[in-house]
Every structure is written in C-alpha cells, then in structure tokens.
C-alpha cells in the first residue's frame, strides 16, 4: 500500500484515539499516538489476517506488550472491520469488550491479555514457537514500550528468543518492535531508568537490530522487509517515535501519558491531527461531515 494511504489511515486512527479517550474520560493518549503508525503499517500492509475469521489458525499475530496503548489497536481494528466504529465509544465502560487494557477472552482479534508490562514478549515467543512446531507459516509481531523493557521478564525473553527452538525451529518468524517514545509515566525514560545503549543491549543478546523513524511508513515497511528476510533468529526494530505524535500540546509531554483529553481539548487535538489552522476550522468542518459529526458529539459531551 502507498505510504500516503497508510499515513491517511493512521491519521483517521489518531482522530479515533482522541475521540474514544475523550468519551471514556480516562486512558493513555501519549503512547497510543506514538505507536499508531507501526500498528497501522502492520495491520493494513503487512499482516495476513481476516477480521471475518479472527480465529483462523494460520493468521499472523500482533501482541501489544504495552497494553495501555490499546486505543491504537482498537482504532485500527475498527478501521479494519473487526467491530463497528460506534463501539469505540464503549471503551472502558462496563460490559464493553473494549477493556481499558486488552482482554483476549472478550474481543476476537486481541491475541494476548497485556498491560501488566513485560509479559507480551514471552507470550510472543510461545506463539512463534507454536507456529513453527505446527508449520503454519504464521508470523508474530510484538510491540514493546520503552518503559516496558525495564521489566526483568523482558530480558529473560530477550536472552531466550535467539536460542529457543534451535536448530529445527528457530524463531525467525518473530519481529519485535520497540516503540521508543522516550517518555514513561513518571517522567522521561532517561530520568527514570535510562535504556541506553539500547541497541547494543539487544545486539549483545543475539538480536539483529534495525533502527528507524517509527512515524515514516516507508522506513517501517523497509525495516519489516529486512526483519522478515532474517533467517535463524528473530529481529528487533528500534522505532524512534514521539510520544503524543500529531497533537502539539501532547508531544513529548509526560503529563499526557495517562490522562484523557477533556472534550474541548479533544476538539483542538483533532484539529491538530488533521492539520487545519484555527481560522480554517469552521470551513473545514462545514465541508467534512464525518469530522463534523465527531466534533459535534464531543461538544455535546462537553455540555453534559
């Protein structure tokens, strides 16, 4: 798929992330906005999956280790047709399959319950090994957060992955992507527990490492091509990203790790994502009925 097309889908998903978080009244915008380009690239240009048959055994798997960024996954899943877009507004509400952190038991298409950080990679190792053992040819994509890889279990998995299944079933069907947005809940990562030199660390554990701009769809696709061409070991992609990408007041600001925008803030955020100046906004909304509907809905929420 063309890069511009993927960027357009990611932009739509960014709008939905802001929209659903504002309606939920809580959640994690920063890490959802940083990871969405990678998620969209995987789900719309890379993975073999079918929303109509979410359980087929040879599907590729996506595990979002940093489960708090699940609004990004929900936005992409709705866009792909796993469920109706209207369901996004049930996020975090009682009885909704769109739990605050992913729950595979209630939402087909979610591969692993994550959110307790550090566990997604181990599950991905098992999924990749299982696919190899059954000869299904399925690939496994695991996204980890930068704060997440402070967890010890990640390094147990990192040490095991290049060796697990060898020699008959090497995990070269596994690609791990680090959403390196440099910010965690309390502060910038470097101020809490610096990961650097993060590339050298993964290389020392036996992983080939590819470094890219995680918002550039051309670079993401090329890195995934390169990772999949790797034989004998899994591959690791360091995707440099911007926390809160697309919304100027959220970008690189730890305050927006785990705080939902108020309805009025959400409208401004959506305007930023769409790249419309304030003077041109009303004219834009008059022409774009779908954006207009989302904004009207948010303004109504503000009056409640």
């Amino acid at each position: 798929m063309e890069e511009t097309r993927l960027a357009a889908i990611a932009r739509e998903c960014r709008v939905q992330i802001i929209r659903m978080l504002a309606h939920a009244g809580s959640g994690h915008p920063g890490g959802s906005l940083s990871v969405i380009d990678v998620v969209v690239n995987l789900m719309f240009d890379r993975m073999r999956h079918d929303p109509r048959e979410p359980h087929r055994s040879d599907r590729d798997r996506l595990v979002l280790g940093k489960g708090h960024a699940v609004p990004a996954l929900y936005a992409a899943m709705a866009r792909a047709g796993y469920f109706a877009e209207s369901q996004l507004l049930t996020l975090r509400k009682l009885g909704s399959p769109l739990q605050g952190h992913p729950d595979r038991s209630v939402l087909p298409g979610i591969e692993a319950a994550t959110g307790s950080l550090g566990q997604g990679l181990s599950i991905s190792l098992g999924l990749a090994l299982g696919a190899k053992l059954s000869g299904s040819g399925a690939r496994v994509y695991c996204i980890v957060g930068d704060g997440e890889i402070q967890e010890g279990q990640v390094w147990e998995a990192a040490m095991a992955a290049p060796k697990l299944g060898q020699p008959a079933h090497p995990l070269d069907n596994l690609v791990v992507i680090l959403d390196y947005n440099k910010v965690q809940l309390d502060d910038f990562v470097k101020n809490i527990l610096d990961l650097e030199p993060v590339i050298a660390k993964w290389q020392a554990f036996g992983w080939p490492v590819i470094e890219i701009d995680g918002h550039d769809h051309g670079q993401i696709a090329k890195a995934l091509d390169q990772a999949e061409a790797t034989r004998g070991v899994p591959a690791f992609i360091v995707a440099h990203t911007v926390k809160g990408k697309g919304v100027s007041f959220m970008e690189n600001n730890p305050e927006w790790h785990g705080k939902a925008p108020k309805p009025a803030e959400a409208v401004t955020a959506i305007r930023h994502i769409l790249g419309i100046s304030e003077p041109a906004w009303d004219e834009y909304l008059a022409a774009e009925t779908s954006a207009r509907a989302i904004v009207d809905e948010l303004r109504a929420l503000d009056r409640k």
Binding site: G115, I123, L127, G130, Q153, A157, L164
Partner: protein
C-alpha cells in the same frame, strides 16, 4: 505397589501420555531432573524446552504455546513457579491459556534444603485466581490419573507434587475427578482431611485412633480447588469435628478453604494442622514431627480437639 513420589509418577505418566498426544510439550527452568520431565525431554527432545533459570519467561512462553494449540506443562519447584504469580495471573489465568502449571517439591517434606526451596504459599496464591483448579494427588495411582485429567481439561490447572515418596492410599478401582474427594475411611467422631503428602498420615492416625475407640473419617482432598463441598458438609454434619492436615501455610491453603465453606454453610469446630512460620532444614520426618503433621502429631491433635 511401592511408595513413589508424585513427581516421579508425573514423569512416567507424561512419557505415556506424550506418546499418544503430540500436543503435549514440557517447559522447564533448569530443574528438569528434579521435576522429572527429563525422561520426556530425552524421549521427545523436539517437544521439551529448557528455558534456563527464568521462570517468568517460561510461564509466558507456555501461554503462547497454549494459544497455538499445544498443551504445555510448565514445571519448576512450587515456590519458584508460583513465585512468578503476576505472570501466572495475567499470561495464564486472565488469558485463560491451556497451561498446566506443575509445582513440585511441595512443603517442608523436601527437608534439608530448607525454606528457600519449600512451596508453602502456592495453594493460597493460586486459590485466589478464579479459573485455575488446584490438584494435589496423594499417591502414584492418583497422580497418573490427575495428569491424564490435566491433559483432558481445557484450561489452566495447577498440579502440586511432592519430592518425597508417597505410600499408596487409593482404593482399588479409584477414579480421580475434579471436585471429588475419595473417602478412604468411614467414621463418626471426627473428619480428617489430608492432601498430597499428609493423606497417608491421616490414614495411619485414623488406625491408631480406632484402637483408642475414636472413629475417624478420612477424606483425600486431591481436588483443593474446587473442594468437594457436598462431601465436606455431609461428613462435617455427621462427625461434628473437622481436622485439616496439610504441608502448606495455614493461611489460604486447604484448611483456609475448608474454613470458608464450613463458616458459610455449616459452622463446625475446626482444627487446621499446617506449617506454622517459615520452614527450615531438617529431615522430612523431623520436620513433620515438629509441625505435628505426622501420624503421632495428628493423633495428639485429635485427642486434644475431642477432649478424649
């Protein structure tokens, strides 16, 4: 039938079941010689994975394999595997992954290695998870059946196994079923409920009590979660006195589970024999004597309890 450790019976059962069902895989954390999966690894090397001394990752890899249609047995000492509770909680229980968690070296009966290797809190931890049954077989026959049950059971399950040899207690023709306890002896003065390594001691204590004119009923609580509530209430209603005997902490173990059911449905005088405080080094026999989990300790506790 000679006495056999339930971990040894587990290793043998896996060999047989693994030959018939290629979905079965084993995962270990550098203790396969102790958990007795080494035989399986030798016979089916392509289905045995040693993850090194990294239990949390082992459990997570097991969950991923289960989600891919395998039936993984993730094995270590009970204290080490359940010690990675957060991974069990999320990657296995909440995920509802078909993982069989095997904790060997249950309790103080491991003896000389001391507290750091003793699983004494594992039942309490796993009991808190809504969807993970807990099974602790009491002899070889029951272990083989429990392993076969674990393979057939679709969902997570925790198996608690012993390092020490277990004398046979199961009656002829015994069939294990989840949520069912075997009545090993009928009695009307007191109900003794053992699990795993304490069941034979309960039987032995009942024999001695009989000689003193005390009629003890003995129940084998192999299914710790769920309990056999109907049998428990029926027996408690008959004898009016219940004694639980377990190689585990008194908090949250078999005794705790029994107390919850009796307290809610049929308040009955209850004595919980269990391991008080931390474990320590010593011979298994000396440790069971110190904590009153051997036949003599059970007999003494019952006499005091019944005031006879």
């Amino acid at each position: 039938m000679p006495a056999k450790a339930s971990r040894a019976a587990f290793g043998e059962a896996l060999l047989e079941l693994g030959a018939a069902d290629t979905r079965i895989v084993t995962l270990d954390a550098d203790l396969s010689k102790s958990t007795m999966t080494a035989g399986f690894a030798k016979k089916f090397p392509e289905r045995a994975f040693n993850l090194g001394i990294a239990e949390a990752n082992m459990i997570g890899v097991g969950a991923g394999l289960a989600l891919s249609g395998r039936i993984p047995f993730v094995c270590s000492f009970a204290c080490f595997v359940v010690g990675r509770f957060e991974t069990i909680r999320m990657s296995v229980a909440y995920t509802n992954a078909n993982v069989k968690i095997v904790g060997t070296h249950a309790g103080i009966a491991i003896g000389e290695d001391g507290y750091s290797q003793m699983g004494l809190e594992d039942i309490a931890c796993i009991r808190a998870l809504p969807n993970v049954p807990i099974v602790q077989p009491a002899d070889e026959v029951e272990t083989r059946q429990a392993i076969a049950y674990a393979v057939a059971h679709d969902g997570p399950l925790y198996l608690r196994l012993t390092r020490q040899n277990l004398e046979p207690v199961s009656p002829a023709g015994y069939r294990f079923a989840l949520g069912r306890w075997a009545e090993l002896r009928r009695g009307h003065d007191v109900t003794l409920i053992g699990t795993g390594g304490t069941v034979f001691n309960c039987v032995e204590a009942a024999r001695r009590l009989e000689a003193d004119g005390v009629s003890a009923e003995v129940l084998n609580a192999a299914s710790i979660k769920p309990l056999h509530e109907e049998l428990l209430l029926r027996s408690a209603g008959k004898t009016g006195h219940v004694v639980t005997v377990e190689d585990h902490s008194p908090a949250g173990g078999l005794g705790g589970a029994v107390a919850e059911v009796l307290g809610e449905w049929l308040p009955t005088p209850l004595k919980r024999l269990a391991v008080r405080g931390f474990g320590e080094s010593g011979t298994p026999a000396a440790l069971y004597a110190k904590h009153g989990l051997d036949a003599s300790g059970i007999v003494a506790a019952v006499r005091k309890f019944l005031n006879r």
